[in-house]
Assembly symmetry: C2
Homo-oligomer: 430 residues x 2
């Protein structure tokens, strides 16, 4: 810490007021923590060498990160023959976690990640959100979160943040869901309602589900760290999230990525939002099921698990059922027409398909690609690849949990120092 | 410069190798230059106070910027009664300039900005690019640039960079125009061809015209510095450029912002790109003129100046000509359907309409706004305003000139130090 003090002979632009010292310290704590996350366990000496921080500073930073339960050091033998065993520092996943919770038209889900990205807890339950209404849905969301926090608490982990994913327009600054037609919400004070019900002692946020899914793909998907990435998810509605130059596109109020209501659909078909001709009326789950099966077919039954219903659709397609194949082909083509718009606008390196698009993707890719080749303006799809998400229906909750943890990687001092009676990793069975 | 030397007791993360010293110096030169641009003329003492650099460093930096012809100092009386006259430093516009050159379907234009953003030279000439072909068009572009550089050279200014704006998909890294259907170019090595013809001793770049226009709006338009801005321009084609969080959206290869070929048009209408139903077939200039006037009407005559033809359309609309008004109304509605897509995707604070959309904007805004209200998903247009560009048909050349100058503001050492026989501002009549 002696390196952080104020001096008058600093290089230009580097002189610091006392307030800056804490900022530099926080920034360096974050630098070391992210370095361990991105490059894996290593010795203090190597951290110093690779980050440009001096050794004494690194030792002091590692000591503080240890006191905050974020890293641990263990003696490991080096590979090879040279040198003696080094004390290796690594992320300590056990004490800090991020909570992602998602509500959608017919389910709610929660997932907890520890600092290393390991899933500590996961739950998903059917929930008829449009019928339950706002207040009772929030009760249920709060209950799910409380159960999750209790479960991971028994393992010694405390939440660093909770993020709720909602399928609609979210003004995340204000914590208000402006419009979420598929669950029937308009101008709902979601953040206030959730905070009222939760006593978690950590930041709580509300975000658009597809934006969080895009973030999850960027952070931990099969195409992780692709700087220009478009995410498209098919559920009851259709959601989009975009990573531009490595950052989530948010727009002026966090309302960006609303792809579902582009007027690319059948002009006569009425959408859940009240408009006609929205894209999601031809690529949403309802459009597929309507085309694939009669109304009394069990694949329409909202009480059955969605994944089981999709598996049934896939089974029929594999068995060569013509109606199912035609429905999938029509969705694939329609999906291509909208994905082409996004490729033309964003010039991404990859388009990741999530939700039911991923589950049934093997039947969609051929018509989708044909339509992209016809409609994308740049040669060779302007360099874009289309891939199926490997995160399944957990992308949004993973993105929410990731966002909560990101705050810790930005500022590790958000996690309190361990007090003598607070547990640390070494005292807790994992 | 004594502040820039290496020290071992630097704060963490700040220790510098000798290579870093030059980087810090360049960065601080840029900091001072941008500070003068953004905040106006001021004393060295005030620059030091406001930037956190120390006074001796500021004096040294200002001396170097003066030697590079980028700033001047003049003794000015302070306002008010207190204090004695201070030596005020200001940007020196005279010796360094940025050159923007644009080619479009039926014209080429060049514009030169000095460092302060003042127009030093401007020229525009009709040019039938599709007929001339690639090589002869580049000859003409190179001639325009050479004339411009000679003209400003007579005023003592040297180019810091030249940027060519092209209406098509531009891979700016490679300097290749992949597709520009309205001028008939495919995979043309534009940058190489231009460099071959120009002997300018400064960087030359090729960029998409609408991206450059968006940059111009962001830098010097009526909505300058709006962090989330969408620019739409109507010419023979339709172009789009997007500023996301204060930065130009480029995508993986600089191919972003291709709005013209979204399938929002009449599905039967064939576009210049060979596809059917592209948005530009209903909002491009040809669509308006086709609807507004018979084929033999003089407003169709490509040999007449575009601005004169648009003025004639405006005159008819003001006189209440029903066919003209109906054509404008149809374009306004169609413009709204595409602008709604962009608002839903980008959540901008402002949409700037350029090209002929700005010239005839007063007749387009009502149907446009009605369509936006119907199709934008967020309430109150998700907080977006629609405004008409005040940059006229010069947006792309201004953006190009600006981009060339930005390099100097990032790194003032790109401009050579004045030698004893090279001119400086005080020796040159302006």
């Amino acid at each position: 810490m002696t390196d952080d003090v104020d001096r008058d002979d600093r290089p230009p632009g580097r002189r610091q007021t006392p307030a800056d010292q804490a900022t530099v310290r926080r920034s360096n704590l974050g630098l070391v923590l992210r370095h361990l996350r991105d490059h894996g366990p290593r010795s203090r000496a190597r951290i110093a060498q690779e980050t440009g921080l001096n050794k004494a500073t690194v030792s002091s930073l590692v000591a503080e990160l240890t006191d905050r339960g974020l890293v641990s050091a263990g003696e490991l033998h080096r590979g090879g023959t040279a040198g003696r065993p080094g004390l290796i520092v690594h992320l300590d996943g056990a004490t800090v976690c991020g909570v992602g919770v998602e509500l959608n038209v017919d389910y709610a889900a929660v997932l907890v990640l520890d600092l290393t990205g390991t899933v500590l807890h996961e739950e998903r339950e059917p929930l008829d959100v449009p019928v339950l209404g706002f207040e009772r849905t929030l009760d249920e969301v709060a209950r799910l979160v409380a159960v999750a926090i209790e479960a991971v608490g028994a393992q010694g982990a405390s939440p660093a943040g909770v993020t709720l994913a909602v399928p609609g327009l979210v003004n995340s600054g204000a914590g208000i869901v402006s419009v979420a037609p598929n669950i029937g919400w308009h101008d709902e004070p979601v953040l206030a309602g959730l905070k009222q019900r939760l006593d978690v002692g950590c930041p709580v946020r509300v975000e658009n589900d597809a934006n969080l899914s895009a973030l999850a793909e960027w952070a931990m998907g099969s195409e992780a760290r692709t700087p220009d990435l478009v995410y498209l998810t098919g559920e009851v509605g259709v959601g989009g999230g975009v990573i531009v130059a490595g950052r989530l596109l948010r727009g002026a109020d966090g309302l960006s990525g609303e792809v579902g209501h582009i007027a690319l659909g059948d002009p006569e078909q009425v959408c859940g939002c009240g408009r006609r001709g929205c894209w999601e009326t031809v690529v949403g789950l309802a459009a597929l099921l309507r085309a694939a099966a009669d109304p009394d077919d069990p694949v329409h039954d909202p009480e059955r698990d969605l994944e089981a219903r999709l598996a049934e659709v896939a089974r029929r397609a594999e068995a060569g059922d013509e109606r199912t194949l035609a429905a999938l082909s029509a969705v694939g083509t329609a999906l291509g027409s909208g994905a082409a718009v996004l490729i033309n606008l964003f010039n991404p390196r990859v388009v990741v398909l999530g939700g039911y698009f991923a589950v049934l993707g093997r039947f969609l890719l051929e018509p989708l690609t044909a339509e992209l080749n016809a409609r994308v303006f740049g040669p060779g799809l302007a360099g874009a690849r289309v891939v199926l998400s490997t995160l399944g229906f957990t992308a949004a909750v993973r993105g929410g949990a990731h966002l909560a943890l990101e705050a810790v990687f930005d500022d590790p001092t958000l996690v309190p120092l361990a007090t003598p009676d607070s547990p640390t990793r070494t005292e807790i069975p994992s």
